[in-house]
């Protein structure tokens, strides 16, 4: 088999794993805080509906957390099996960041999760609330370290080269590299939106089956209000993140906007089918000078096209489409959340049709998160670590057959896991809080 094909298989396998994995942390990071909110509401009001709510969502959390743990363990091994060159080249940076995630976050959440799930009758109330808080802090810390590493791979800073090895010169600069603050906040908000729509969607599903479910009414409202607050914030932060990318990773912006040639007064491509072979946009619908205006606030400003980075330019078509999917879903989430908040004002119940829409959009945040992840990861290609290490340079010696067999195994396992997860979630929501 061609080495290019083996590399593609290795990337497909790692992409599948990390794409599967990201679904669950993106839900549990924010759900941890939402659970803490439910728990505190119960502690302050003593209302059994809040307790029932808390218990139901704890189960959803436990399930999602387990999915995240097992797929995360897989990833920790795949760094070595699929990308040995990665650790050889930048291990002195990536290693400590990953180690700190395990030490400060992973153990914290996993240990206190046990008390949170099974210890309510065994520890005093405040210890239980404390455990819930530790779980939420743990998931967020975990995101902190992972996003620090991912951002460093996008916009490396703070490192020095010493006798051929890349080591950290200034850890604070490594962690708080130029894109980190934007990416971290963007990810936390994405998690908030994902969790808000899951909470609202499953609550809508419950209300379709039992309208007088007091707990489901509470959580529908919680999810909708949270989404209505976070969606505009996310659009704002996303825009800042984009401007930051223009400054530090112009190649990615060229791919996002499907700009092939460096020139002045660049049009904004609303829709097109970018052709990476011929380096043109087919069926383009454009706003003249739009891209220059949006990105540089000057209709005649010069923007760099992919030609400025060739042969190290990112593939345009996947980045272009994924970006539009992400933005489109973001706007849709904003509209849905605001409509939902209006429809559920002062204790009203939204119409059945609207409840169906929310139930159908339960996992809308996942799709948007995956789209955003594709934009940022494919947009960095052909680099694994911008300007330092190419993806091809990190690949291991595993044969195409080995990767193929294990890829098939992962696909089967993940499909079974995902179907079972969705079935159990629907089942839990259907049973509601009666049990």
């Amino acid at each position: 088999m061609e080495s290019a094909e083996v590399l593609l298989l290795a990337r497909a396998q790692f992409g599948l794993n990390i794409g599967f994995h990201i679904l669950f942390p993106s839900l549990t990071i924010a759900l941890g805080w939402i659970l803490l909110y439910f728990r505190i509401r119960y502690a302050r009001s003593g209302d059994p509906a809040w307790l029932a709510t808390y218990k139901l969502w704890t189960k959803v959390f436990a399930l999602s957390f387990a999915m995240g743990v097992v797929s995360g363990i897989t990833m920790s091994f795949q760094f070595g099996t699929n990308w040995p060159g990665y650790m050889l080249k930048v291990g002195n940076i990536a290693g400590p960041l990953l180690a700190f995630e395990v030490l400060t976050a992973f153990f914290l959440e996993a240990t206190f999760l046990g008390i949170m799930l099974f210890g309510m009758n065994r520890v005093p109330g405040w210890v239980h609330i404390f455990s819930s808080a530790m779980v939420a802090i743990g998931t967020t810390l975990s995101a902190f370290w992972i996003l620090a590493l991912n951002s460093w791979m996008q916009t490396p800073a703070g490192h020095v080269v010493e006798s051929g090895q890349i080591i950290a010169g200034d850890w604070l600069k490594v962690i708080f590299n130029p894109s980190f603050p934007y990416r971290f906040v963007h990810m936390l908000l994405a998690s908030g939106l994902t969790a808000a729509f899951v909470v609202a969607g499953l609550s809508a599903w419950r209300l379709l089956r039992a309208q007088d479910d007091a707990s489901a009414r509470k959580t529908l409202r919680t999810g909708l209000v949270l989404a209505a607050v976070l969606a505009p914030l996310q659009i704002f932060v996303g825009d800042l993140h984009g401007l930051n990318t223009l400054e530090h990773q112009p190649s990615k912006i060229a791919a996002i906007e499907a700009i092939w040639k460096t020139e002045k007064g660049v049009p904004l491509v609303l829709f097109a089918i970018p052709d990476d072979e011929r380096r043109v946009n087919e069926f383009a619908i454009e706003i003249p000078k739009g891209a220059s205006l949006v990105l540089k606030h000057d209709p005649d400003a010069e923007l760099k096209g992919t030609d400025a980075f060739a042969p190290d330019s990112a593939p345009v078509a996947p980045v272009f489409f994924a970006f539009r999917a992400m933005v489109g879903l973001g706007v849709l989430m904003l509209a849905l959340a605001w409509a939902g908040v209006w429809a559920s004002r002062r204790g009203r119940l939204p119409s059945r049709r609207m409840l169906w829409v929310f139930a159908a959009c339960t996992f809308i945040g996942w799709i948007a998160t995956l789209a955003g992840w594709l934009v940022t990861e494919i947009g960095r290609q052909p680099w694994l670590v911008s300007g330092i290490l190419r993806t091809a340079g990190a690949a291991g010696a595993a044969s195409g057959a080995q990767i193929g067999v294990s890829l098939a195994g992962y696909i089967v396992t993940y499909t079974v896991m995902l179907i079972a997860y969705l079935v159990v979630l629907t089942h839990l929501a259907g049973k509601g809080t009666q049990t």
Binding site: A66, G72, F77, L88, F112, L117
Partner: protein, 333 residues
């Protein structure tokens, strides 16, 4: 003051791996014992490991994490050579992890299916870990005999985890299930005795390096001193046999003794293995100093470990304290 950082991290990695084997070992073992129990007993067994399994598996991530981070060159070689058993182990761990969560929520034949997957995943992960250990000890040599050896170690490790799982159940349950667990523990001990004996005999035969370490100038003070390890293992095995025998006759106060003895057997076997391999991280090919990452990376991680490890131990101890005593059925109550 200059610290031997690679040595410190080798010790930390060993500690993390030993913790993993002891902790996840008992919950993998409980998983493998599921088919031997009826439905009500299965609930108790699952309840006994429920609060702990997530954190137990985290030790594996720490152990592999230290390998990845502190010995990046070795990490690539080892995991590259173990590609397929690693995948098998991961799929096993995934299956059992999610089956654990799903089975509680499922009913009827669905629950049967998840129970079965919980057993299968536990078994697959344990067996694959044993195979990995077997390949690792023999320096990944190709050849029929070496693969056979790896399969043997796989079977032995399954027996070892069954022993740990049974000993855990003796501590955490009572009545009929505890009596069953006493039988399982004795069965597991026989299996472990066979496995440890075979591995101890086979390893020096397949590896001249290991042979030299144990028998080069036999009998000398050093090699005779080493014989204390197998002797202590035999003693721990006898304690386990005796404790389970007493409990079978109705004595109740020593329910923690089998777990302690089983853990001691594992720790002794681990010490023997560590002695055999040191200072290699890939046997005969790479020492820990050759494989180590840059001192700057090791220093910053050591600082993190020194700060976090005591906290980690403290809240792990706290969690075990919260859930001390006999397990009760009914999760999430």
């Amino acid at each position: 003051m200059s610290l031997d950082l690679p040595l410190i991290f080798a010790a930390l990695m060993g500690l993390a791996m030993l913790m993993y084997v002891l902790l996840d070992g008992y919950d993998l073992g409980v998983g493998m014992l599921m088919p031997g129990a009826n439905e009500r007993e299965q609930e108790l067994m699952v309840a006994s490991i429920g609060p702990f399994w997530d954190a137990n598996e985290t030790w594996l991530v720490l152990g592999v994490g230290i390998l990845l981070v502190a010995f990046p060159v070795a990490h690539g070689i080892i995991l590259g050579a173990l590609y397929l058993p690693v995948v098998a182990m991961l799929i096993g761990l995934m299956l059992r992890g999610v089956a654990f969560e799903f089975r509680v929520k499922a009913e009827g034949w669905h629950r049967e299916l998840w129970n079965w997957l919980f057993w299968f995943g536990s078994f697959l992960a344990s067996f694959a870990q044993g195979v990995m250990l077997g390949r690792f000890i023999t320096g990944f040599h190709p050849g029929f005999g070496y693969y056979l050896f790896a399969l043997l170690v796989g079977a032995a490790l399954c027996g070892g985890y069954v022993l740990l799982g049974a000993a855990w159940l003796i501590l955490k349950t009572e009545g009929v299930l505890q009596r069953k667990a006493l039988g399982w523990a004795r069965w597991g001990l026989a299996w472990v005795a066979l496995g440890v004996a075979l591995v101890s005999l086979a390893t020096p035969m397949v590896s001249p390096t290991v042979h030299a370490k144990w028998f080069e100038d036999f009998p000398s003070a050093r090699t005779l001193g080493l014989m204390l390890l197998p002797l202590a293992s035999v003693l721990a095995g006898w304690v386990l046999w005796e404790a389970t025998g007493r409990m079978k006759r109705g004595e109740r106060e020593f329910d923690w003794m089998p777990l302690l003895a089983a853990a001691a057997i594992f720790a002794l076997a681990f010490a023997g293995l560590a002695y055999s391999l040191f200072p290699y991280v890939v046997i005969d090919r790479m020492t820990i100093w050759e494989a180590a990452a840059h001192p700057s990376a090791l220093r910053v991680m050591l600082a993190g470990v020194v700060i976090v490890l005591p906290l980690l131990v403290a809240y792990t101890a706290f969690a075990y304290r919260v859930f001390r005593g006999k397990a009760r059925a009914g999760l999430y109550e």
